[in-house]
Amino acid sequence: MASNVVMPKLSDTMESGVILKWVKKEGDAVEAGDILAEVSTDKADMEMEAYVSGVLRKILIPEGKTAKVGEVLAIIGEEGEEISAPLAIAPPAEPPQARKEPAKAPQGAAGARKEVVESPQQEAEVGPIKASPLARKIAAEKGIDLSRIQGSGPGGRIIEKDLEGALAAKPAAKAPPAVAQVPAGPGEYREEDMSLMRKTIARRMTESKTTVPHFYLAMEIDMEAAVHIRKSLNDLHPEAKVSFNDLIVRAVALALRKHPRVNASFRGEKIRWNEAIDVGVAVALEDGLITPIIRRCDTKNLTEIATEMQSLAEKARRKRLRPEEYQGGTFTISNLGMYGVENFSAIINPPEGAVLAVGAILQKPAVWEGEVVARHRMKVTLSCDHRVVDGASGALFLQELKKLLENPVSLLL
């Protein structure tokens, strides 16, 4: 059955539109969704789609002509179908007296939002400067910054006389280069809206640092054995690419299993003892950081941890992490060793009970079996939520971590 193509109503105030172009010609086959024509109203052009399939049998409004909203523009039917008795013109959607002046419909898409522009701060000082045309001309020629001149004309308007002081004050001054004529603002800076990620970091870190009673435990760990075992591992299985961080993740998981208090969360009236050991590892991004989580860390061996970490870090950098891949951890590791940071303390990622800050592995003199020798050493700092973790329980966890990393064969089990 033949159907009418009518001028679409593209806005509440639209009364008519112009056919800019027929994309389909009479006799062309048309699929629903195909672009039939381009129509224009005011300064907007819209591509018009077909809603039915068939053949474009007849074009009633040629290119360049105007049609009222609802007016039949063309007929889509089947090949050979009788269309000679069409097709009353649909009534226009609005009576003509309903015309609305566009200028009286100032609401943007935000509807009834406030109309007053909140002047951004930086504009406060560069607002309109009242000055006579002559004063402006002189100021432009002599390079005088009008924003620094006190006007004596009506309403503080700057007039020629007001410039005399400025001219006299610097008689020798040549007109400065054009840049100097820009009224001095608050200096150059770039301002941008915070990204969602920055906002999240800001909100969560503020919440943590202001509501969670942090305390910090630092410890130095000898990494000589870990350096050797990592080298042996990667020589034997270069494809595994085990990093120091993987060793630390594995050690942390085992230490958490032994000291579940450090893996617990403060939940108001209750302490939640997390059975799962889900360790988040902070990954730095251009504008912030994110902590993808290695789930059930204690049940995974080093190679599994290494592979998973590489894939998560890559996803994180491409901002392709799914929420379940970075939300709901039980403990966090933040490692700034690769930047040469020797030690630092991290902010707890609520509702977790602790976070481990890991520094660089540096060769330095250490007392080892009674001798001063060069050893690979690493400093770690545990930040604890004192509502859940006490000094002694945090210390026991660190002791265990130190033992595991200094005897790294246990990490291979």
Partner: protein
């Protein structure tokens, strides 16, 4: 809760190149693979002729155009003749209007709002003139608007004269209105002003008007997120 949107400033780019990019982005936006976008750009000296433009509106001979290094483009949109050039911020919003009331006129009025707010932040009183889409200051046009819509996704957009060389407008009959006076923010303010000063304000006014959270992203975001292949991304010129 505000809608997430992204603004990317492309710097100085050929008209053609950005037209091509818009085509891709409209498809990506329709598919939902990118959020609402505001691209900002400056073009080299360019005249564009819409479908309604008449050759005689172009007052310069091809030789003269060549001599001055001005390129001309015939484009598949309505509207007349437009000048683009350095000192003019051109904005190409790629928005899904299905989320903004599916109303073409409301969209045009919203763009005018953005521009009026932007110049207003600098103390310039921008106005509408009924029946003449765009933003006007004391009867002279400071910003032109011309949009395209495909499956309710917008492209093309607006051009705000920050401080262009207005003599280039003398080579055309702009918007098909003979003797249509043109102005710029610099002229209206009586002081030099650069796009860098205006862009952040424009971005904020845009986000405010459309109720968006506007994130600023660098150029390469387009290839990282929009699935735009690297070679099509806009390598620095």
């Amino acid at each position: 809760m505000h809608r997430e949107a992204v603004r990317v400033d492309l710097g100085l780019r050929d008209y053609e190149e950005v037209l091509d990019l818009q085509e891709r982005l409209v498809r990506e936006r329709f598919a939902g693979s990118i959020p609402d976008l505001l691209l900002t750009v400056e073009h080299p000296h360019t005249y564009t002729l819409g479908r309604a433009a008449k050759e005689e509106d172009l007052l310069l001979s091809p030789q003269e155009l060549d001599r001055r290094g001005i390129r001309t483009f015939h484009i598949a949109r309505g509207g007349q003749l437009t000048y683009h050039g350095p000192g003019q911020i051109v904005g190409y919003p790629i928005l899904d209007l299905r989320e903004f009331g599916q109303d073409v006129h409301r969209y045009l009025r919203a763009l005018e709002d953005v521009l009026i707010r932007t110049v207003g932040s600098f103390g310039i009183k921008g106005e509408r003139i009924a029946g003449r889409t765009g933003v006007w200051v004391g009867g002279a046009k400071i910003a032109a608007i011309g949009v395209g819509i495909r499956r309710w996704i917008t492209f093309h957009g607006f051009a705000l004269n920050v401080a262009p060389d207005l003599s280039y407008f003398h080579g055309i009959i702009p918007c098909g209105i003979a003797g249509c006076p043109v102005t710029s923010m610099s002229l209206a303010l009586g002081r030099p002003i650069g796009s860098a000063e205006v862009l952040p304000v424009l971005g904020r006014c845009f986000a405010d008007t459309f109720g968006m959270e506007m994130r600023i992203e660098p150029n390469d975001w387009l290839c990282r997120f929009a699935g735009i292949p690297e070679e099509a991304s806009l390598a620095a010129r």
